[in-house]
Symmetry: C2
Subunit: 332 residues, 2 copies
C-alpha cells in the first residue's frame, strides 16, 4: 500500500485534474450553447373598449443621465429618493413613449406618432420603434385613417415623417390642437422665449409641420372630433395640450397624453414640475384636476409616458396619487 504524503497527494491531484480537463480541451460532440435572443418581444398589447380594439404600441424608451433640473422645482436628491422608492436606478431616468392605435371598426385612429426614423437611428433603436411594432401588430401605416396629435412636442410628432421626409401615414387625416399650432408655428412666440428647453425644440417641430399647413385640421377642446373621440382641455405641459375620452357604447377610457411625465415621479408627486412643461404651474393644476376626476371615477387611463402597456388606474393617497397598472390579459 502506497504511503500517502502531501507530495504524492498533490501529484495525484494534479494528474486527476489534468485528466478531468482533457475532454474540455478536445472538441466534443455536445449540444451547442443555446443562442441568446438578445432582443425584446414586440411591444404591442390589445384590449377592448366597447366595440373598439385598442392597440397599445410602444415607440421605445429613452434612458439618460438624470438632469439636475429634471424636476424643476425640487432638488435632484429628492427626485433620486423618489426613483429609489420606485425601485428605479437613481443616476439615470427612463422615459417610455407609447402611442396607441384604436380600431373603431370603420377606422384606424393613431394617437401620437413617437420619435420617428431619425431618432431611431441616433438612439440605435431605443426609440422610434413604432413602425416596427406596428408591423409586428399587423397594422399597415397606409391603413391609418386619422392621426390625432395630443400636443406638438417632438416625441409625439416626429414620427409623422419618414426618413426621406415623406408622410409616414400617407392616407391619414392629421388633427392637431389649434392652440398648439398657434404656439409652435409662430415666429413671434418663438422669439419671445428665453434660451432653454422649449426654444431648443422649436426648429424641429416647425420643420416637421412645414409643408403641411394646408393638410392639417386644427381641433378645439370639448368636441367629439371624430366619432368616439372627445377632446379634453389639459393645458400647461404645452398651451394646447389635449387629453381624450375614447368611448364606445357605455365603455370609455381617458387617453391622458402628457398630463404627467413618468408616474413614479410626477403622478406620485403631482406638484412636481417636469423640465419639459411650457407652463409648469398650469400643468400642476391640470394634473390635480385630472387625477382627482380619474380617481373618483375609477377611470382607466392610457398614459403616453406610463410603462408599457401604459394603462392603469389612479389611487388617491393623501395629496398624492399612486398608479395601479392594469393586469396583462393573455387573451382579449
Amino acid at each position: 500500500m502506497n504511503k500517502l504524503t502531501r507530495r504524492t497527494m498533490l501529484a495525484g491531484a494534479t494528474a486527476l485534474t489534468a485528466a478531468a480537463l482533457a475532454p474540455a480541451m478536445m472538441p466534443m460532440p455536445a449540444r451547442a450553447a443555446a443562442p441568446m435572443a438578445g432582443k425584446q418581444a414586440a411591444g404591442f398589447y390589445r384590449y377592448k373598449v366597447g366595440d373598439f380594439e385598442i392597440n397599445v404600441v410602444t415607440d421605445g424608451a429613452a434612458t439618460f443621465p438624470l438632469p439636475d433640473q429634471f424636476v424643476q422645482n425640487h432638488p435632484k436628491a429628492e427626485a433620486q429618493k423618489a426613483l429609489a422608492a420606485a425601485f428605479q436606478p437613481t443616476e439615470t431616468v427612463t422615459v417610455p413613449f407609447t402611442p396607441i392605435v384604436v380600431n373603431t371598426g370603420p377606422k384606424f385612429v393613431l394617437i401620437d406618432t413617437g420619435y420617428g426614423p431619425e431618432m431611431h437611428a441616433k438612439t440605435k433603436g431605443r426609440v422610434g420603434q413604432l413602425p416596427a411594432n406596428l408591423a409586428a401588430a399587423g397594422i399597415d401605416p397606409k391603413s391609418i385613417d386619422t392621426v390625432i396629435i395630443s400636443h406638438m412636442h417632438q416625441d409625439h410628432v416626429f414620427g409623422l415623417r419618414t426618413a426621406d421626409g415623406g408622410l409616414a401615414f400617407p392616407n391619414a387625416e392629421i388633427l392637431v390642437p389649434a392652440l398648439d399650432w398657434a404656439y409652435w408655428m409662430s415666429d413671434a412666440e418663438m422669439n419671445k422665449l428665453p434660451e432653454g428647453y422649449t426654444k431648443s425644440v422649436y426648429p424641429g417641430i416647425r420643420k416637421t409641420f412645414t409643408g403641411l399647413e394646408n393638410k392639417v385640421t386644427k381641433y378645439e377642446w370639448g368636441k367629439e372630433i371624430i366619432p368616439g373621440f372627445t377632446t379634453i382641455a389639459t393645458p400647461g405641459h404645452t398651451p394646447g395640450h389635449t387629453s381624450f375620452v375614447v368611448a364606445s357604447g357605455s365603455a370609455k377610457i381617458f387617453v391622458q397624453s402628457d398630463v404627467t411625465n413618468i408616474p413614479h415621479l410626477f403622478l406620485r408627486n403631482p406638484t412636481w414640475q417636469v423640465m419639459y412643461d411650457v407652463d409648469p404651474l398650469k400643468a400642476a393644476e391640470t394634473r390635480k384636476k385630472f387625477y382627482d376626476m380619474a380617481s373618483a371615477e375609477k377611470a382607466l387611463i392610457q398614459g403616453f409616458h406610463f410603462p408599457f402597456p401604459s394603462a392603469g388606474y389612479v389611487e388617491k393617497d393623501g395629496n398624492n396619487y399612486r398608479l395601479i397598472p392594469i393586469t396583462w390579459n393573455p387573451v382579449i
Copy 2:
C-alpha cells in the same frame, strides 16, 4: 314660389333623407372596415440577470367566479373589497400562470410547465398557452435541457405531457422537490386526506408522473441543483414547495413560485390563506419570512401568479406588502 307647408316640408325632408341614405344602400368603392385582430400579442418578455437571459413566457390566465372560500380564513366580502381596491372585478377572480425559461448560455432551463394541452382545449385557449408562446419566443421545446418543478400542483406540471401523453420536453432532465414527490406519489398520504381541493387534484398529478419514476431527479433544499440555480425552502403551499435563487455573477433574482397566489389579495394581505394551500399556516409563515427578506434586500421577485411579465419588487407597508411591478423595457 312654392308655399311651404308642414306637409311639403316633411315630404321634402323624407326625400332628402332617402337621397342621403341611398349611397349607403348601394355598395360604394370605399375602404373596407379595419379588421379587428381579436387576439393578444404573444406573451413573452425578456430581461438579463448577469449573463443569463430570462424569458418570461405566460401560460395564460384562468378567470372564474370568485369562490366563497377563495380566501380560506376571511369572508368573501373582504376578498371582494381587496379586489375592488386593486381595480379588479369582484364577482370573478383571474389567476395568471407564468413559467420562465432561463438561457444560461450552455443550457435552456424551464421552471414549471403550465397547464398543458388538455386544459388548453377545455379552456378554449385561456390557459395552456406555453407551447404557443415558446414558439413565438423562438424556443423549441426539444432544446430545453432541464425542467425544474417548483411543486407538483397541476398548473406547474400538466404541461410536462403532450396531448398524446408523450413528453413535451423530450430532451430535458426533470427535477422535482423530493418532499413533494414523497407527498403526492403516496397512496397513504392521499388516503389520509379529507374530501376537498387537495384530494381532488391528486389523481391528475399522479397520472402526470406515472411512468416517470425512473426519469425524474429529486432535489433537496439549500443546494445549487444546477449551476446558477439554488433551492430555497418555502413550504406550506405544498410540503415540498420550493423557491429559487437564480444567479449569474453578482446579479440574481428570486423565483418565488407560489409563495403567494395573486398579489393583490395575498401579498397585500400576507396572513390571508388561499384555498389551495396544503398547510395554510405554514404558508403564511413562509410568506412573511420571504417578503421580509425580499423587501429588505430590494430583491427582484419573479412570481408564477403575478400579472405578466410577473416580476416586481416588494415594498413593506406596515404588516402588509405592496408589489411594485418592473417597468417594461422595450430593449434588453
